[in-house]
């Protein structure tokens, strides 16, 4: 490779790794510093994207072709196909987890009436004796942790 190409590769590497790290960091910031669980979920999506970028960047080689054989020519240099396969898997896994999280989020909002992590944590950490009824939904005299009847909670 020419010195120019090497320099380009170096800057490319910095840009990609830097971008991946910043994406991860911003995502974690959203998860850690924000109180709304929806925002936490968005942060999670960002973190997963950042990790995917990192993985693809690992397999990259400058001046190499995409890992698809065109016209039976097999001896051109190709980028590493393995991380790409991994990232494909990781993307789909990410969507699955995100979908489940969304489902849980909907139920959390429905049950507690809030998406604030502080409120949720307060409810979860409540001592069994004085479990505070969440968001005023429980009627006095009923056990605080009654099972929510299917379809009847609002």
């Amino acid at each position: 490779m020419s010195p120019d190409a090497l320099l380009v590769a170096e800057y490319l590497g910095r840009a990609l790794y830097g971008g991946a790290i910043l994406l991860i960091a911003i995502g974690i910031y959203a998860m850690v510093a924000r109180y709304n669980l929806m925002r936490v979920l968005l942060g999670l999506a960002l973190v997963e994207s950042g990790v995917n970028l990192f993985l693809v960047a690992i397999g990259f080689r400058p001046e190499a072709a995409a890992p698809i054989i065109v016209g039976g020519v097999t001896d051109v240099p190709m980028v590493d196909p393995l991380p790409q396969a991994l990232v494909l898997t990781a993307i789909v896994i990410g969507v699955g987890v995100l979908a489940l999280a969304a489902a849980l989020l909907i139920r959390v909002k429905e049950t507690y009436g809030t998406l604030d992590t502080r409120e949720v944590a307060k409810f979860l950490a409540a001592e069994p004796a004085d479990a505070a009824p969440a968001a005023g939904t429980a009627v006095a005299g009923t056990p605080a942790r009654e099972t929510v009847n299917a379809g009847s909670a609002s």
């Binding site: 974690i28 850690v32 109180y35 992590t117 944590a121």
Partner: protein, 626 residues
């Protein structure tokens, strides 16, 4: 091959199962008596084998788990404690065989746990290596817990406290045996005894501290003593007497085994503490001195008869360990003999106190008095018991204490001797409080109809007191048993004869002492009864004081705050620092618990992940190889 030891253990096991199954039966006490008597006979047979020249009687029982072999065998030392155990079990069962048994709501638990304790102790004293020693130790601890906790309420609280102490001790012990194994490559006693002189000093110290602390908890050496008195006192009568008489002595057994038999007093004396005059042995000796004094004066302050005696038990343990740690044949014999003697008189005392409790429903020393007229035989038992406890002739306690004092003198330890005397002084004062507040003085109105304890309870009490007298009169009887134990320790035997011991600088012959004493009493009686008998009997209330006639509703029996002057003198010393330490530890655990729990209640849990990753990567950057 089923040997004597196997028979003994199987019999103990069958007794446990049997008494648990038939424990509610009204003959359970007799079944127990028969079983313990049979066990005692077997133990005596084992003793004959041992005195016949065998070093140990092996058991056929042996397991190998995960490459660790476990064996059981009984040697002289174990035999001595086994005899105490089965004997104490026999008397406890006897006590429980009649009226006491009828009155108890939880007969099955009482009989079952007693048998379980006997079994556990037999297993412990016959352990053949450190692993089986630890297993036996744990079983003994938990069996005692089962016995203590049975009445619930304050008993459960006290038992829980005991349990935590015992478990902390057991964990120290666990660490100790594992260090022994990694240092010597096996759990075997012989390997340890062979390897210990060559171990690094640090290892020796670690082992010494771990074993002393671990076994010392059971012995209730200060500062590990807080649990014992309440735990023993809130246990039902016969069980409590059993615990008082022999349970804590398991710690003594194990300490003797490890410190004297395996490590040896010379080795301990060689472990100097830098910048002080102390070495491992003398430091422990002074700890026992504190154990003799402090609990005895705490006993003085008790208002519950059971607590008073139980606190004495702690102090008496100090005497035994003192004698054993002196390390000469005389001291060892004194310590071991004191163990035997203590078992006889302490059990008699506890049984007598519980007989009083059985009749009057209280053990509060402020609520009793004058029972000598109602329960004279119980009074005699108690009197003989406290003479033994105080270490006065003609009872056996005198002989063993004399031997311990003598061994201290012979090894030039006058300060320890003074400490022992201070302890004895406290003992005498407090046992007087015991007998005065219960039996002397004014009989309370509500106790006027109290009857003497039933025969089923009186007989074991009187028998025990009798044994105490006989072995005080002819200490050679007990000393020949001590011989067997001593022969297993490798320190040498203390020559003795039926009446006591002969030493170059002063001998003791109890045959003479008792003879002179009886003669003197006889002379006194002669003078009293025949030469000038001016006495006549009057009722307690046919009397006057300060110009007023006394009536039954006026309390002139002085029992509350019995030693006010003494309390003022020792009060400033009585700070309860150990109690404060215990509370501090509890608070510390609670605070740490709240801190840990708070970690888990944090609203933003991913934050921890962030912190952990950042700090972890920092650590990787700092310490990882580049």
């Amino acid at each position: 091959m089923i040997g004597l030891l196997d028979t003994l253990l199987v019999l103990a096991l069958l007794t446990t199962v049997g008494l648990y199954v038939f424990g509610a039966n009204r003959f359970a006490g007799y079944i127990g008596m028969a079983a313990y008597a049979a066990m005692t006979v077997i133990v005596v047979l084992v003793g004959q084998t041992l005195s016949g020249g065998e070093t140990a009687v092996p058991s056929a029982m042996a397991f190998t788990v995960l490459g660790y072999p476990m064996t059981w065998r009984i040697d002289g030392l174990g035999w001595f404690f086994a005899l105490l155990t089965t004997g104490a079990g026999f008397f406890a069962a006897w006590y429980m065989s009649g009226e006491w048994n009828e009155a108890q709501p939880n007969k099955r638990i009482q009989h079952g746990t007693l048998a379980l304790n006997v079994l556990a102790m037999l297993l412990l004293v016959s352990s053949g290596d450190f692993l089986s020693l630890f297993i036996g130790w744990e079983i003994v601890s938990w069996a005692a817990f089962a016995m203590m906790t049975q009445l619930g309420g304050p008993a459960a609280t006290a038992a829980l406290r005991y349990l935590l102490y015992a478990l902390a001790g057991a964990m120290a012990l666990f660490a100790g045996i594992l260090i022994v194994r990694s240092a010597t490559g096996s759990f075997a006693f012989e390997d340890f005894a062979a390897a210990v002189p060559n171990l690094p000093t640090a290892t020796k110290w670690v082992l010494f501290v771990l074993f002393t602390a671990g076994f010392g908890v059971k012995m209730a050496i200060v500062p590990f003593h807080l649990w014992q008195a309440p735990a023993y006192s809130f246990t039902p009568g016969a069980s409590s007497s059993f615990l008082n008489a022999v349970s804590a002595r398991m710690g003594l057994f194990a300490l003797t085994l490890v410190l004297i038999k395996l490590m040896g007093p010379a080795l301990l004396a060689g472990m100097d503490i830098a910048y002080t005059w102390f070495d491992a042995r003398s430091a422990l000796l002074w700890l026992t001195a504190i154990t003799m004094i402090v609990p005895t004066y705490i006993a003085l302050m008790q208002t519950d008869a059971r607590m008073l005696l139980a606190w004495h038990g702690i102090g008496q343990g100090g005497y035994m360990l003192l004698g054993i740690l002196v390390g000469t044949p005389l001291g060892l014999a004194g310590g071991l003999l004191h163990t035997f003697n203590y078992a006889t008189y302490q059990m008699a005392l506890m049984l007598a106190v519980f007989a009083v409790v059985h009749r009057t429903k209280t053990a509060d020393l402020d609520e009793l008095g004058g029972l000598i007229t109602r329960m004279p035989f119980t009074y005699i038992t108690l009197l003989m018991g406290i003479i033994g406890l105080a270490g006065l002739p003609p009872m056996n306690g005198f002989v063993s204490k004399w031997m311990i004092y003598k061994s201290l003198l012979n090894t030039a330890q006058p300060l320890l001797l003074i400490a022992a005397f201070i302890g004895t002084l406290g003992t005498i004062l407090s046992v007087y409080k015991l007998i005065h507040n219960i039996f002397l003085g004014q009989l309370r109105l509500e106790h006027r109809e109290v009857k003497e304890a039933p025969l089923s309870m009186l007989l074991p009490m009187l028998t025990l007191a009798g044994i105490g007298f006989v072995t005080g009169w002819m200490p050679g009887l007990a000393l020949s048993m001590v011989d067997i134990a001593q022969s297993a320790l490798g320190i040498g035997l203390q020559p003795h004869h039926l009446g006591g011991v002969d030493l170059p600088n002063g001998s003791l012959n109890m045959l003479w002492v008792v003879g002179v004493l009886i003669a003197a009493i006889g002379v006194g009686a002669l003078i009293f009864y025949f030469l000038g008998n001016r006495r006549w009997e009057v009722s307690q209330y046919d009397n006057y004081a300060g110009g007023h006639f006394l009536s039954a509703d006026v309390r002139y029996h002085f029992s509350h705050e019995f030693y006010p002057g003494l309390a003022r003198v020792i009060g400033p010393w009585y700070r309860g620092w150990v109690v404060k330490m215990e509370r501090g530890l509890q608070t510390l655990v609670a605070v740490l618990g709240d801190l840990s729990g708070g970690v888990f209640r944090f609203a933003h849990t991913p934050f921890y992940l962030l912190v952990a990753v950042s700090l972890g990567l920092l650590w990787v950057g700092l310490f990882g190889k580049i």
